[in-house]
């Protein structure tokens, strides 16, 4: 069968992970996602963004390959009249345009909401931005982890009140919340516009997304509770900690949610139930001579909420994920395969999740232009004049 989103057409102007990993979810389930990039100014995430992990080609950076699988690549200079016309034709055939430029950029390209609605009266424009399209801070700039700070989660994360801690540049939690929420919002908006024929602009704020997931703390503080503070690995009413195990930087995590948990833990680590600090010290002493996984298994066997602190790459060997076929084998551009993350959820009915690797810049330019009713001669002319471009390998300076 075809994918569950077969028939959904997406003009994807989004970049990096907040945007591109959102449309990846749509592409996974069968949407036709055309990734629109400038031939000379492609998605900066192709090269690793901060420049620390990129390689020599436009598909060298592994996370880029994940966030853009199953998409087609169109390279076009949208600042030229001919490029703008290509965009107009693409949008006329699309259900939704997704972008996460800085505020004002989409309008400067002549592709603001009014212009899009004039092209297609039931178009959906989804704008994923730092702080939204309105309000006094709409033009402020941020990276993903800036929004750990501004969104509120950093204020309750860390070792203590003096060490507010963000999610790290590698995790970049705010970008992950955006690309986890956006697929649902995009689909709901398209359903609504298909139902009533009306264009919609979905203004999605990444800062608000982070705060929207802290509702319990917003509510408590609005009712007079003091601001929550970083409290290490504890949760309100449920002390937790990590204890070091044998080996370099190996840890187990355990939390105590009920009085019975204290008895269980005391039984395993050979301590009096006493106070929680004493239990923690006893757990630390018990764990330091044990292997991480064996220690975690022993705590779990006693009925405790516990886990080894693993690195993400260890999940490649996780028996449950592998038994469910969660990891996806994807072709590498130069031969061989790699494993990429699985689906957002597992449907009983869906076509194979991965149909193609991420595209080179402009890999499908000719194919997409032909679908937009450009003749072969017109395509050649556009290529010759640099309005559009073919597959290429970019080289880092």
């Amino acid at each position: 069968m075809s994918g569950l989103l077969h028939g959904l057409k997406v003009a994807d102007l989004s970049i990096v992970t907040a945007g591109a990993a959102s449309t990846q979810v749509l592409a996974d389930f069968g949407a036709d996602v055309v990734k629109v990039e400038g031939g000379t100014r492609p998605d900066l995430y192709r090269m690793g963004f901060t420049g620390d992990k990129g390689g020599s080609s436009d598909l060298s950076f592994p996370p880029f390959r994940v966030a853009n699988r199953n998409k087609r690549g169109l390279a076009v200079d949208l600042k030229t009249p001919e490029g703008h016309e290509i965009a107009r034709r693409l949008i006329a055939q699309s259900d939704v345009v997704v972008e996460n430029f800085r505020r004002g950029a989409i309008e400067r390209l002549g592709l603001g909401f009014r212009e899009l609605a004039a092209i297609r009266p039931d178009i959906v424009l989804v704008s994923i931005s730092s702080q939204g399209a309105t309000g006094p801070r709409r033009g402020f700039t941020s990276f993903g982890i800036t929004l750990d700070s501004l969104g509120g989660i950093q204020s309750l994360s860390g070792y203590d009140a003096d060490t507010p801690t963000w999610s790290s540049g590698r995790i970049n939690y705010p970008d992950q919340t955006a690309n986890s929420l956006a697929p649902a919002v995009i689909l709901a908006a398209v359903m609504a516009s298909r139902a009533d024929g009306q264009a919609r602009w979905v203004d999605m704020s990444q800062r608000e997304t982070v705060t929207s997931l802290l509702g319990e703390y917003i509510l408590a503080t609005s009712l007079g509770a003091p601001d929550p503070q970083p409290d290490a690995n504890n949760a309100p009413g449920a002390p937790g900690w990590v204890s070091r195990c044998r080996g370099a930087d190996e840890w187990i995590a355990v939390s105590l949610e009920t009085p019975a948990d204290r008895s269980r833990l005391a039984g395993v680590v050979g301590a009096d139930t006493g106070d929680d600090d004493a239990l923690r010290r006893a757990t630390d002493a018990w764990a330091e001579s044990r292997d991480r996984d064996a220690a975690a298994a022993e705590l779990r066997a006693a009925g405790l909420a516990a886990a080894p602190v693993v690195s993400g790459h260890e999940l490649l060997d996780d028996p449950d994920l592998n038994a469910r076929g969660w990891w996806q084998s994807v072709d590498l551009p130069d031969g061989g395969t790699e494993r990429q993350r699985g689906p957002v959820v597992r449907f009983a009915e869906n076509a194979p999740l991965v149909r193609s690797r991420a595209p080179h810049v402009g890999e499908h330019t000719a194919e997409v232009l032909a679908e937009l009713d450009y003749t072969a001669a017109e395509i050649d002319d556009l290529l010759a004049r640099g309005v559009v471009s073919h597959p290429q390998t970019t080289t880092r300076n």
């Binding site: 592994p62 700039t141 994360s157 919340t177 709901a188 908006a189 802290l214 993400g312």
Partner: protein, 371 residues
Amino acid sequence: MSGSAARATTLLPEGPRVVELGETFSAALAGHLLERMGARVVRVMPAGEVAELDTLGPRLGEEGEGPAAPAVWLRHGKEAVEFDAGSSSSRARLDAVLADADVVLIAGTTASWRARGVDLDDVRRAAGTAVIGHVTPWGDDGSRVDLRSNELVLQAAGGFMKLVGASDREPVRLGGHPLQATAGLLVLDGVLIGLFHRQSTGQSTSFETSEFEAVAHVEWKIASVFQSGAPIDRRGEDGGGPAAVRTRDGHFGLFFTPREWDAMKEVVGDARLDDPRFATPRSRAEHQAELTALFEETTSTMSKKDLYERAQARNIPAGYVATMTDLLASPQYRARAFFRPIEVEGVGSGLLPDAPWAIRTIDDLDEEGAA
């Protein structure tokens, strides 16, 4: 969008009927956002059980003895039905609710529902035209199916904590329920994929997931980079500079990229930052403690919001560490009508964050233009 107007979040004007069968943080969050999209949500709660949300903090009220804040938040706007497996009338009522459902969110393993006297195959038959989503902590089978889970355990088991914290200290979690919440977002994706498919084809569908799989989905980069042979990141190795510095009234998240270094020096205005020891990202990382101390000599005399304005004036993508109080007073959030009121019985009038999206139509733009 003005500060006084309610935010437009409705995207599903036909008001699909959503049934939450059981309640976990992730499933309840998915139901909460469906409610903000316009769905009518009914919670079906097994009689005589303490729901997970009622056990989570913080608690509301002066003495902290009021209702659990997560429960108040995530149940707001939903209806509730109690289910007693031993009662034929209760079973009939459940069947009626399921037959009427467009979406059913099942929280908990098949075995846990069987222990309550509910066969999930019967649920699926009763809700024959619905999109059915089934979410468990670890999966409905496999080696971990019976293990306990919570936010800390998920952050540990999914690769998250290994990246969070300082390099010379232990791994530390993010506060709140970020991964259980994100699992809820992925469940929401599944629901909308199913609803879209149903709108397109008339066919219902079903999906499974676990909070553990959701974490693996969210922390996806390390496994990806690892396979390329590149070094694996560890916590505290962001390389951009001090993560947070003290200000007169809190902390500031001092994020900047190498190209903003000169602008950052302007903000701080201390000539010692011109020292060659701080000239490159690598050398700044090597002297991070010294750099932090130097930054803080200046930033500790400034307010975090002044620092924010000065950084943004130079296009530096940094921001202050916002407390809940800061967020509630945020001019940006107020201008966007982000908070909505709630009356909590026995506690008082509070505020909740709305959905983080706002819908506008051409008519809205025309009205704004005319105003």
